[in-house]
């Protein structure tokens, strides 16, 4: 397989065993992969644990777009970013984990911006459930007065 591979292509293998052939310039947008390539500890196939095929495909799509469009107008890229990260919560969480673990700065920036815009108008209860994994039961039984105080309008 490696013989048919062009010189500047890399194979990424997701956690569930699917393989993706990507140009090296795209793959090294991930700092973690870049370090592996530079240290020459990468064989033909680079395993990407913790990231399944579905998410890896998304990350590769994002990196490809950013690699191609360096000369393009920044506003175009911005609209692409905001559309790209506009997904369901599960996918968003998986993408954040993948981007953080693989150290893809551009993707992480776009994702964090998206989450920030999602949560900026939310109530404190909502944030607790989303970020700290509080359950409704805990919130109702913990300090009731404190919660009322927390949720007053700060305008």
């Amino acid at each position: 397989m490696s013989s048919s591979l062009e010189k500047n292509m890399l194979i990424l293998r997701s956690s569930d065993g699917e393989e993706f052939i990507v140009p090296e310039v795209v793959a090294v947008m991930s700092k973690a992969i870049k370090n592996m390539v530079e240290d020459e500890c990468a064989s033909n196939t680079i395993p990407v644990p913790n990231v399944d095929a579905n998410i890896l495909a998304m990350v590769i799509e994002f990196c490809k777009k950013h690699d191609e469009s360096e000369a393009e107008a920044a506003s175009d890229l911005k609209t692409f970013d905001s559309e790209f990260v506009n997904r369901g919560q599960e996918a968003l969480y998986d993408l954040i984990t993948a981007a953080n673990f693989r150290d893809v700065k551009e993707l992480l920036d776009a994702l964090c911006q998206n989450v920030a815009e999602m949560i900026k108008g939310k109530s404190v209860h909502h944030i607790r459930i989303q970020f700290l994994g509080y359950q409704l039961f805990e919130i109702l039984t913990s300090n009731f007065i404190w919660n009322i105080w927390c949720d007053r309008d700060f305008d």
Partner: protein
Amino acid sequence: MSDFIPDEIVVEILLRLPTKSLIKFRTVSKSWNSLITSPNFINTHLTHSLTSNTYINSYDNLPLMMVRQYDSTFYNETENCKLFLDSEDSFDEYKALEFPIKSYYHHFFWAIEYAKGLFCLFKKDRFFLLNPSIRKSMAMPKPMINKPARYHGFGFDPRTNDYKVVRIVDFYGEPTTRIEVYSLNAGSWKILSGASNSFLDEITIAFFGRFTSYLEGAVHFPGYMKISNDPLILSFDLSDEVFQTMLLPDGIFGLKTMVITSVLGGLLSLLCYEFASPGYKSCSIWIMKEYGVVDSLYKQLTVDLSGRITRVLGMRNNGHVLLDVKTATDWVLSSYDPSDQQIKNLGIHATECPKVVDTYEENLILLNKPNYAFSRWGVSGRKRKDR
């Protein structure tokens, strides 16, 4: 996003939030509270809000102007801090911000400057910092030079993310000028050594405008050489803490002109008032197109004032000039249209003239500082403990 997000990502997300949400989210948990109020986070948030082009503030980056004014009647004195929406054809009130400092009995604070989201106010020898976007205020220690300063400057030092106040104290009759600088990070005043500032004794600072102007990490004062009467702009670099002069070509302003340095539309500018009894004849607005390049100074426009007592406060996004016009009983904010030279009353009244008009900016500076407790009797009454 259900279970948990790693801490470093939480920090990255919170950095992108406007101050209003962050103030609210302090109550999410103890660890979020200590994260948001930590000096490190406050500093990083400030840097991010200043440098990132994706930062969205609490009011969705609307073109908002901040107007600070003081109203006093026999029964009631109020400091007002309001946001106005500066659109093409209107200047409407958007929101009133709470002003946590009150000065009683007709002794309003002088505002030195509004720079990068912070007000610096003083009254006699008490100095205060105020961040209206998070309603925080802080008292500074008393200055070390126990003399009223003639000139004050306040601004932001971009190199160290610090806010600094400079006092220039002239001793009447004596030839020495003394300089004192307060730094928010250090939390104390510091007297600058005299040697580097000796040339200040050859300069008269034109003392007409209370407001200096902050731009590009420096504060600016108009002035003259004492012997030759050559006009110049004196600037104090807040990072290096040194004075510099920009000699101006002759004929921009003479000795009888009242000159004020200002910042209009993000550019350093000079407001030159020509006097004619009983008010002013006109005000020429000179703008320095390229900062520090004297040759790029050009006359933008001349506001025809013909006898009215008026002050130029700022410039709107559509090029109209904001004026403070004296009426029989109070001062009213007005808008001057350069194309047809009409002065339009905006209906914003105040009983005292020192207004500050500037673009709204927000950050979390002062959030980790204790709030100063103000007594009913104002600030210069009995001694009290600073927490």
